[in-house]
């Protein structure tokens, strides 16, 4: 009965030009060089205390950007912070789907393995200029608070009528998408406040940053949800969102949408190492389409105290605290940083960390995700990761009876990898086969080796 929560919801607005929703958090120019890369949100939550960190890959002109986020309670200046995009990127890389490489033994001996990981990169968000309070009252809009944090000018608004709020925001230069008024009305009736942020250009120039840093808001509320409705308003396509949660207990799950795990653990062709980004995109697309775009995909769920394999260096405690995991004691930061890339398996150390990370990936629009994503923290601590395996065949020359069997098996194995990859990504299986051949995964490897001149590897040239 006591699992209560709150949350925010956001919409950002591109000021002078028309607007397009972007991942539920801001609205930006429709035709701009603005690609919907995943917007990233980190929610840290324990009990009713919630910290939300929002980063969007905004690539437009900073002065053209603003954001409107519904928040469950009024937010004071001290509850807002400007975070570090690197930390979010770090968490992204740390939880991203990963490739693992294994090298076959000499069939007539044994193993070692190596991991690789993939990183997705992302950029921050931006906003614009400040607002006049004069007409606000006339329109039933109350400016509850206004302050500057970092490079952002922030207004906390409450309103009695959505039309007034919509009109006021439009007057102030925020191009609200069509239909915004209806959604705003719903929020107003639910007693939500509105957090409006834009870039203070002077401060931004002074800061020396070339991009906008993520905004962080801390609040205490029973509502635990991710508001996505405003963001879907005027965007025709799908929004992409990576939602990371940090909790003390365990995995976070949506209560009003189905969760599906991304496919994991498969052996795939070696050439995928060079196009893992493409693979991830295609694999994700195939997986969500299979679920008719109606599920939240779980990509990672793991205790932050360890990883196996680690796709990136573990996050220091102070960074986890910075992301809102207030319950973590950062006095002793014993986590190793900068471990060698080749082998990254971190065992629990430095005392209990008490942080569990969940990475959810959502591709949504107003049809498939009509309502906010309601969340709950569970006590499920079962580990899950997106992990794909590259198996390198034995490169030396094996000469024994078992070798014949091994080489016979390879052709079958390669073909299975090709089919697996085709299933996972929807790519043409023959294209895959051709690429595999080109990359040395010959389907007639036994023949190829047979035909190799006998002197070829005699002197290890």
């Amino acid at each position: 009965m006591m699992k209560l929560l709150i949350a925010l919801m956001g919409l950002a607005v591109m000021m002078p030009t028309s607007a397009q929703a972007f991942c539920g958090f801001y609205v930006a120019k429709a035709d701009a060089s603005l690609f919907n890369e995943a917007s990233k949100v980190v929610i840290s939550r324990h009990e009713d205390r919630t910290v939300m960190t929002m980063a969007n890959d905004f690539k437009g002109d900073t002065k053209d950007f603003a954001i409107v986020i519904p928040v469950p309670t009024a937010v004071k200046k001290s509850q807002v912070n400007v975070g570090d995009i690197k930390v979010i990127d770090h968490l992204d890389a740390y939880t991203a789907p990963r490739l693992v490489e294994y090298f076959d033994n000499d069939p007539c001996q044994q193993i070692y393995r190596r991991e690789m990981m993939m990183k997705n990169s992302m950029a921050p968000m931006a906003m614009s200029d400040s607002a006049g309070a004069s007409s606000a009252k006339a329109l039933g809009v109350t400016i509850e608070d206004s302050y500057t944090v970092g490079e952002y000018d922030i207004l906390i608004l409450s309103a009695k009528q959505s039309d007034g709020l919509n009109q006021w925001l439009n007057q102030e230069g925020y191009k609200m998408p069509k239909g915004a008024s209806k959604v705003l009305k719903s929020y107003i009736k639910q007693d939500m406040k509105f957090f409006v942020a834009k870039v203070n250009l002077k401060k931004f120039e002074k800061s020396g940053y070339s991009f906008l840093r993520p905004l962080q808001v801390a609040y205490e509320s029973a509502k635990f949800m991710l508001p996505v409705r405003l963001g879907t308003l005027n965007s025709k396509g799908y929004q992409e969102l990576l939602l990371f949660t940090l909790t003390k207990n365990g995995r976070v799950e949506p209560t009003n949408y189905r969760t599906t795990k991304i496919p994991t653990g498969m052996d795939i062709p070696l050439y995928v190492a060079d196009e893992f980004g493409e693979f991830y995109k295609a694999m994700f697309k195939t997986a969500v389409e299979k679920e008719k775009m109606k599920t939240v995909m779980l990509e990672y769920a793991w205790d932050m105290a360890w990883c196996d394999p680690c796709a990136a260096d573990p996050l220091p405690r102070k960074d986890l605290r910075g992301l809102g995991a207030w319950w973590i004691d950062d006095a002793v930061d014993q986590q190793p940083i900068g471990r060698p890339v080749s082998r990254r398996i971190m065992q629990p150390q430095g005392g209990p960390l008490n942080a569990f990370v969940t990475r959810m990936h959502v591709r949504y629009n107003a049809d498939t995700f009509p309502e906010e994503i309601m969340l709950q923290t569970t006590d499920d601590r079962e580990n899950f990761q997106g992990r794909y395996v590259l198996r390198h065949p034995f490169k030396g020359k094996a000469q024994c009876e078992a070798a014949g069997e091994y080489y016979d098996g390879l052709k079958k194995r390669f073909d299975k990898e090709a089919k697996t990859l085709a299933n996972l990504t929807g790519w043409d299986v023959n294209d895959i086969r051709r690429k595999m051949e080109k990359n040395g995964q010959s389907f007639d490897i036994k023949e190829a080796i047979k035909n190799e001149p006998w002197w070829e590897d005699m002197w290890n040239k």
């Binding site: 009305k185 719903s186 309502e371």
Partner: protein
């Protein structure tokens, strides 16, 4: 052919004999679908532990109270409902919740009727006593399963000539009305309440918990009041207090007034078997 016909007839006879046969079949089918289809389906081990506990508990109480019966149907329904709804990371909590559920049936009684639906009591007690370890995952159902389940459940009502299934319909009617009213008040599109209604947990609740004939008032009008109260309490808990498991708490709370409703409006108590 003849054999098939005979099997079919025996099957139908068994089903129409007792509403619980159909319930067991529906819940098992649902569980099977989830096992093959959901990434978060209950482990078969968990189902076995829960069912073992409910059956054992029923057996123990029957022996202790010297009841000359060995009914397996009610504990099975309780176990299946729990397996479909209840989640915990502590494996021993599964048999415990099963045992607590069945114990509540024998220990918390008023006027020779148990006060709470066993599965509901088990879930609520665990949520209250071990809030961090117990939860309900209502989001594991897709539209297709939901639709199939809704149809089968409705069929069950028709087949069983609505023993006490009216309570399920009263509740669903009230709940739908409340969600629709909320959407109208907020100016939300109807896709929101419709999406909200597509919850497997809601259906299990409606068709297997709140409609439990043993824990609903004996008088039909009072059953309507009862169902309406559950819907209203659940609505307040869910939308004002943001409680995710609102319906379960609501039923638990409202069940406490059932004896009063029975006292005020006297009708004959329900009996399971109709043969």
């Amino acid at each position: 052919m003849f054999c098939l016909y005979m099997c079919g007839m025996t099957f139908l006879k068994a089903i129409s004999q007792d509403a619980r046969h159909f319930q067991i079949m529906t819940l098992s089918a649902l569980l099977l679908v989830l096992l093959f289809w959901s990434d978060f389906a209950p482990d078969p081990k968990i189902i076995a532990l829960t069912a073992g506990a409910t059956l054992a508990m029923q057996f123990i109480f029957f022996k202790a109270l010297k009841i000359p019966s060995n009914d397996y149907r009610s504990p099975l329904i309780t176990a299946l409902s729990l397996a479909l709804l209840f989640k915990t990371n502590l494996i021993w909590l599964y048999p415990l919740v099963g045992a607590v559920a069945m114990a509540s049936k024998f220990l918390i009684r008023v006027n020779n009727k148990h006060l709470f639906n066993p599965a509901n009591a088990g879930i609520v007690l665990m949520l209250v006593l071990l809030p961090t370890h117990a939860w309900v995952s209502p989001g594991q159902w897709g539209n297709e399963i939901w639709l199939g389940f809704a149809l089968i459940s409705l069929a069950a009502i028709v087949l069983n000539k609505a023993g006490r299934a009216d309570t399920a319909l009263f509740f669903l009617g009230s709940w739908i009305a409340l969600l629709m009213a909320r959407a109208l008040w907020l100016g939300d599109p109807l896709s929101i309440p419709i999406h909200n209604l597509q919850s497997g947990a809601l259906l299990i609740f409606a068709f297997f918990m709140i409609s439990d004939p043993m824990t609903t008032p004996n008088n039909r009008a009072m059953r309507f009041v009862f169902a309406l109260c559950v819907a209203v309490v659940a609505y307040i808990l869910q939308y004002v207090f943001q409680v995710r498991e609102a319906i379960f708490y609501a039923l638990f709370a409202v069940c406490m007034v059932t004896p009063l409703l029975d006292y005020l409006f006297k009708n004959e108590a329900y009996r399971w078997s109709r043969t």
